[in-house]
Amino acid sequence: MSTQPSRDRLWTWQRRWAPGIFLLPFLVLLAFFILYPLTQSLILSFYKTAGPGHRVFVGLENFRYLIGSDLAFDLAVINTTAFTALCLAIEIPLALGLAMLLNSRRLRWRGLFRFAFFASYLVGQVYAAVLFFQIFSEHGLINRGIGFVAGHSTPIPWLRNPNLVLPGILIAALWLTTGYAMIYLLAALQAVDRELYDAAEVDGAGRWESFWHITLPAIRPVLSYLILVGTILGFQLFELPYVLFQGPGPNGRGLTIVMYLFLMGFGTGDLGYASAIGWTLVIILLIVSLAQWRIWKFAVGGEA
C-alpha cells in the first residue's frame, strides 16, 4: 500500500511532462536547423561575405544591386517565371483531361492506367534530368521519334539551341508532375455523385454545361491547391536544368533563381548575396501567392 501515493505522483508527473518530452526532439531540431539558420540567413543578407566567417556589413547594398542592376538575376527571374506560368498552363488542362478520361464509366484497367501516368512522379529530378539528357541527345528518343514520323530529318540540337532550353525543361517537368496533378483531380472527380450528371442530362444539359456547372465547382478546391503548390514549387526549380545543362545552359536560358542562389553562395562563396537572393525569392513568392489569391477570389466571386 505504501507504493500507492508515489505511483500516483509518478502518473501526474508523467502526464504533466509528456507533451514536453514528445516535442523535445522536434523542437531542438527545429530551433537548430530551421529557426537559427533562418535568422542567420536574414542577418547575412546585409553583409558581403567571402566564405563562412568573413563578412563586412553593407546594409541594403545586396538588395539594391540585386534588384537594381544585376542582369543575371533579371534573367533568372524571367526564366523562372516563364517556366512556372507555362508549366502550369499546360499541366493543369492536361492533367484534367487525363483525369476525366480515367473517370469514364466505360473504362477498364483504371488502376493500371492511373499507375502508368503517375509512375514518373516517383522519379527524382536528378534522375529525370540524366535520363532526358540522353533522350534529347542527337540519337536520342525524341530525335528518333521525329525522324520516324517525318521520314529522314536532321537531328534537332535540343540541348545546344538557346531557344529550345525552355521547351526542353518543360517537356521533362511536365513528364514528372502531370501524373501527380492527375491523381488529385481524379480523386476530386470520383467524389462527384454520378447521379448529378444523369439528372443534368435528363434536363437537357449539354456536355459543356455539365462540365461548367457540375465538374468545375467540384474540383475548384483541388485546382486552387494545385495552382498554389505548383507556383511555389515552380519558382524553386533547380535540379532539372542544372543537371540537364550542367549549369545555366546556352545563353543562360536555363538559369533559375535557386540556381543563381547556389552559384553565388557556393560557387563564388558570397553567402550574403545568396541570402539576399533567397529573401528576394520569399518576397516574390509572397506577392505572387497573394495576387493569385485575389484573382481566384475575384474569379469565383464574379461567377457566383
Binding site: Q14, R15, P19, I21, F22, L23, P25, F26, L27, L30, F32, F33, I34, L35, Y36, P37, Q40, S41, L44, G53, L98, L101, S104, R108, A116, S120, L122, V123, G124, Q125, V126, Y127, V130, L131, F132, F133, Q134, I135, S137, L141, W175, A187, A188, V222, Y225, I232, Q236, Y242, V243, Q246, L261, F262, G265, F266, L271, A274, S275, G278, V282, L285
Partner: protein
C-alpha cells in the same frame, strides 16, 4: 466503338508517358560487360547506392518518429506556448527551404560537419509539414480511448506508440513514402556539404558522371545507374501504394 476509342486513346497516351522509362530500360540493357569493366573502373557505384540507402533510411526513420511524436503532443495535450509554436511552424512552412541554405551552411561549417553525414541526417530529421500531418490525423484518435487506456495503467509513451500510431497507419505509410522519396532524390544539400566522393549519394555522383564526356558517349552505364536510382522508390511505392493513394485522396477532398 466509343469504348474501344477511349481505350485506344488511353493506351497511346500511356505509351507516350512510359516511353522514357522504356527507353531507359532498353538502353540500360544494352550495357555489355566490357562497358562496366571499362567505365566503372575505380568508380564505387555500389558504395554510392549504399550511401543513398543509408542516408534516406536514417532520415526517414527519424523524421517519422519525431514528427509523429510532435503531432501527438500538438493534437492531444494542452500546454503553455502551443499557439505561438503553431504560428512559428506555419510561418517556416510558408518559406521556400532554399532560403535556409546560406545560414545552415555557416552553422554546419562552424560545427565542423562539412563532409559529414550529420549535416544531412539531422536537418533531415525535422519536418514541420510532417508534424502538422500527424497532428491532423491524430485529432481523430478518440480522447475517451486514451483516457480509458490511462485508467488501465497505460503510460503516455505507450499511448503514442501502441494506441495512436496504429490508428493513423495510413498517414504513417504515406509520410514514410513521401519522406523517403524526398531524401532519396535530394541533391542540392548533399552536393553542397559533401566533398569526399566515397560519401556521395547516388544523385550527386550521377550528376558528376553525367557531366563527363566519356559517359555521355556510353549512355548504357549512366542509364543503368539511373535505373538503380529509380527502382527502390518504385518498390517502396508498391509496398505502400494503397495507403498512399488513399491519403492523397483524403487530402484532396479535405483541402
Amino acid at each position: 466503338m466509343k469504348t474501344f476509342a477511349l481505350h485506344l486513346l488511353l493506351i497511346t497516351l500511356a505509351t507516350i508517358f512510359l516511353a522514357p522509362i522504356l527507353w531507359l530500360i532498353i538502353t540500360a540493357c544494352g550495357a555489355g560487360s566490357d562497358d562496366f569493366s571499362q567505365l566503372l573502373h575505380g568508380q564505387p557505384i555500389f558504395r554510392w547506392l549504399l550511401n543513398s540507402i543509408f542516408l534516406a533510411s536514417a532520415q526517414t526513420v527519424l523524421v517519422v518518429i519525431f514528427s509523429s511524436m510532435a503531432g501527438f503532443a500538438l493534437a492531444k495535450y494542452r500546454f503553455f506556448g502551443k499557439r505561438p509554436l503553431v504560428l512559428v511552424m506555419l510561418v517556416t512552412m510558408l518559406l521556400p527551404p532554399q532560403v535556409l541554405l546560406p545560414g545552415i551552411y555557416e552553422l554546419i561549417f562552424h560545427l565542423g560537419w562539412i563532409n559529414s553525414y550529420w549535416a544531412i541526417v539531422l536537418p533531415g530529421a525535422v519536418s514541420v509539414f510532417g508534424a502538422f500531418l500527424f497532428r491532423q490525423a491524430m485529432l481523430d484518435v478518440p480522447d475517451e480511448l486514451l483516457q480509458c487506456a490511462r485508467l488501465d495503467g497505460c503510460g503516455e509513451l505507450r499511448l503514442w506508440w501502441e494506441i495512436s500510431l496504429p490508428l493513423v497507419r495510413p498517414m504513417v505509410a504515406a509520410f514514410t513514402l513521401l519522406s523517403f522519396l524526398g531524401a532519396w532524390n535530394s541533391f542540392l544539400w548533399p552536393q553542397i556539404v559533401l566533398q569526399d566522393e566515397n560519401k556521395f549519394p547516388l544523385t550527386v555522383a550521377l550528376n558528376n558522371l553525367s557531366g563527363q564526356s566519356v559517359y555521355q558517349q556510353h549512355p548504357a552505364v549512366l542509364m543503368l545507374a539511373t535505373l538503380v536510382g529509380i527502382l527502390p522508390v518504385v518498390v517502396l511505392f508498391f509496398a505502400l501504394q494503397k495507403d498512399f493513394i488513399g491519403s492523397l485522396k483524403a487530402g484532396a477532398i479535405k483541402g
